[in-house]
């Protein structure tokens, strides 16, 4: 009986979906999308900066060789096909033919080679790939051949990740820019850059000659169709103003809304909410170069034991739907999700912390913790954490700065013991900041180095995952960093928009999105 009821219910659901699907017309072409963003980006040059705001805007203009589908797997974008030879040492990329840049020129291997080389030399994440590369050359009009020193597994993920990543510029743009940020924004994307009006907006317009892929849209991959005539990214720094602006109809879409407003906005008919699935995580880096925390892993574990991340997340983020108190460094939406070592995550035990601290020989030395007030959740998280640490008997010197001051202070190991920052979504753990030896915190123990080397040399996905498990276990033992948990930012938009999915993967995208067709 129960089973039949369920069956009927399911059938009804299917009908509803079908009927609903038929009734909703496709989004209309035309119109201007007014999107309220948190700030103005310093540049749209994807090679050099890792700001999420830059990437969110720039992904409409520039494209890379690969991109991600809805499962965060890298799939071809500007590339037609690839061949992996020599046990992974040689990779040949065959480019798509007839892809036009916004200036009308057709993209070829020379453009790709110039872009890759600049990214490798001056790009934010370029050295991760190029450090393992013996040479990269154009071996045909539309062929690129990369030869690695040793088989290097993460290459495809690195080429697919746009943020600080290898987007393709025309070669003459690359030649004039070198180490300075590029100033001519010419790409191959569905929208082209039209105007930057400082303080007012960045304007993109539809690129009518866009060479779209033909596969159905899946995540960032497949068909891309520009429906808006124009997109304006308008800087609206105050979150309250962004919310009011969408409610009043002055903006169509606003990003990064305050977690605590989620429930009331979800219930509001004037706006629609959309959660960003690419988890952001709060991170506390420990100073491995100098100070009381240097190589004192037991003391670090003591600090770790004192923390209760649920309290941190509930305070700093808000409703339960927007966070997960998860110790895995890679979120559970990826295949990298791992439970190794996470028993030490979020113990929230002052007693355990005190006992460990005693064992570690901690005698109340001052521990300097820096955080920035430029990000509300940095400050809110650290407020709770500092309280927990103090309650566990640690002598915390809590210092707050604006972001610019903090990033310059943290470069000097003498000035701090712990600092707070956040980490955006990355598709491959090799891009995780603590994997880099030059990232402040400077985690460079022998064990870590050996594992990191093994990790990048392993080709097989399953085997790589096992190495990553070991690295994560080590990260809970040597504690170079403490993660507060995953949290999900969310955006709001006007019900007039159509084509947006219930959640975005990393950054919201506006191809395939338009205003609802009016009848």
């Amino acid at each position: 009986m129960k089973g039949r009821k369920l069956l009927v219910f399911l059938a009804a659901c299917v009908c509803l979906v079908l009927v609903g699907g038929a009734a909703t017309a496709a989004p209309a072409k035309g119109g201007v999308l007014r999107m309220a963003v948190i700030d103005e980006p310093p540049t749209l040059d994807q090679h050099v900066v890792t700001s999420d705001l830059t990437t969110m805007i720039a992904q409409h203009i520039f494209e890379g060789l690969y991109t991600f589908n809805a499962k965060y797997a890298p799939v071809p974008l500007l590339v037609k096909s690839d061949e992996v030879k020599d046990g992974g040492k040689v990779v040949v990329l065959h480019l798509r033919d007839g892809v036009k840049f916004h200036n009308g020129k057709v993209m070829d291997a020379e453009d790709v080679l110039a872009s890759l080389n600049r990214w490798g030399k001056f790009g934010a994440r370029g050295p991760v790939l190029f450090g393992n590369l013996e040479k990269v050359e154009a071996t045909g009009k539309l062929d690129i051949t990369m030869t690695f020193k040793a088989p290097f597994a993460p290459w495809k993920n690195l080429l697919a990740f746009l943020n600080g990543g290898p987007v393709i510029y025309p070669k003459d743009v690359v030649a004039t820019a070198e180490k300075k940020p590029i100033e001519q924004y010419i790409g191959t994307g569905p929208y082209k850059f039209a105007e930057r009006n400082p303080g007012r907006y960045i304007k993109l317009v539809r690129f009518d000659d866009y060479a779209s892929r033909t596969e159905p849209a899946d995540g960032y991959s497949g068909k891309r169709e520009a429906l808006f005539d124009e997109i304006r990214f308008i800087p609206v720094p105050d979150v309250g103003t962004r919310v009011n602006g969408v409610k009043a109809g002055d903006y169509d879409y606003a990003e990064q809304i305050l977690g605590d407003l989620f429930d009331s906005l979800k219930a509001d008919d004037a706006v629609v909410t959309t959660v960003n699935q690419g988890a952001t995580q709060g991170l506390m880096f420990f100073n491995s170069k100098t100070g009381p925390l240097k190589e004192n892993f037991k003391l670090r574990r003591a600090l770790q034991a004192a923390m209760n991340m649920e309290a941190v997340l509930r305070t700093a983020v808000g409703p339960k739907e927007l966070w997960k108190a998860s110790g895995s460094f890679m979120p559970d939406s990826t295949t990298w999700y791992s439970k190794s070592g996470v028993d030490a995550f979020s113990n929230g035990s002052a007693e355990k912390a005190k006992a460990l601290a005693k064992e570690a020989g901690y005698a109340g030395e001052k521990i300097t913790l820096m955080a920035s007030t430029s990000y509300k959740f940095h400050h809110d998280s650290t407020m709770v954490l500092v309280k927990q640490l103090k309650d566990a008997g640690f002598n915390i010197d809590y210092q707050i700065y604006d972001w610019a001051t903090l990033i310059s202070k943290r470069a000097d190991p003498a000035q701090w013991d712990i600092f707070f920052t956040h980490h955006g979504f990355v598709p491959d753990p090799v891009l995780y900041t603590f994997m880099s030896e030059s990232y402040p915190g400077w985690w460079t123990t022998e064990t870590k180095r050996a594992l990191a080397k093994e990790f990048s040399a392993t080709m097989d996905d399953a085997a790589r995952k096992l190495v990553w498990d070991k690295i994560q276990a080590l990260a809970y033992e040597e504690v170079p960093v403490i993660k507060t948990g995953d949290h999900f930012t969310y955006d709001i938009y006007s019900p007039k928009l159509d084509g947006l999915s219930a959640s975005s993967l990393i950054w919201p995208k506006f191809w395939g999105v338009g205003f609802k067709a009016t009848k």
């Binding site: 103005e40 890792t50 994440r125 602006g245 009043a248 610019a404 001051t405 990033i407 900041t433």
Partner: protein, 315 residues
Amino acid sequence: MIAYICRRFLSMIPSLFLASVIVFSFIHFIPGDPAQVMLGDQATPERVQQLRESMGLDRPLYVQYAKWIGGVLRGDMGQSIFFHKPVLDVIADRAETSLLIAVFSMILIIVVGVPIGILSAVRCNSRLDQLFSGASMFFASIPTFWLGLNLMLLFAVTLKWLPTSGFPSIVESGDWSNLRYLVLPCITLAAPNSALIIRLTRSSMLDVARADYVKTAWAKGLSEGSVTMRHIFRNSLISVVSALGFTFVALLAGTVVTETVFSLPGVGRLVVESLLRRDYPTIQGVILIVAFVYMLVNLLVDLSFAILDPRIRYS
């Protein structure tokens, strides 16, 4: 008179020079640097150093100052690090908003503040006077952003009479109806300032009313309106005009908070955002120009004294 004006201009030169030194050294005392801010959290130290070099930030401070001030003397304030364009252009982009805000707020302040001030003085200590002085004190006591937020919630979100935020350029679009975007910000700015002008007008009129020549005017049997306007108001204008002058300058660049609340592309927000981005040339440029405008307004205010009060002569 002309000689006086020339002298004043000449004396501005050392002041501006001093101002440039102060601004430059203050700005470079701030920890952090623009290359790091621009490249973000994950930049390697080498990458930051490369960018610093390409920006010329690795050179000694006095060299950087000499280069900057040399440019300023030739009318070139340098390149904005953040916007990659000349500082003067960046400021020009923001000038429209700031000038319009300042002018319209000033009109509101004068239209509301001065007549109520006169009325309060004439009806000194009446119910009306008490009402006005109570209300004006109240408005002068509210933190600007609280007032602005409440106005936005009421008039833009609930009543939907006016837009919440932003300001599309009138110069570019030729659309004067865009002025509606400035209504709430101007009210937010004018409220506390007109309150201060009401009080100043009232008190300086009462002050002048006690003077001997006013008593003589009454004694001569002139009508109340004539005494109030011709004698008392005219003579109390000096302090009101000088206060208005300074209010105007403050409105040109000191409206950061209102600009942030209403997301307006004005000069005030430009300075604060440039400060957070460590965009040195832009901050220096704006502050120097504002200082220059301040000195100019100061001169104009002084000259207006000669018109308002024939006893004052500049030579």
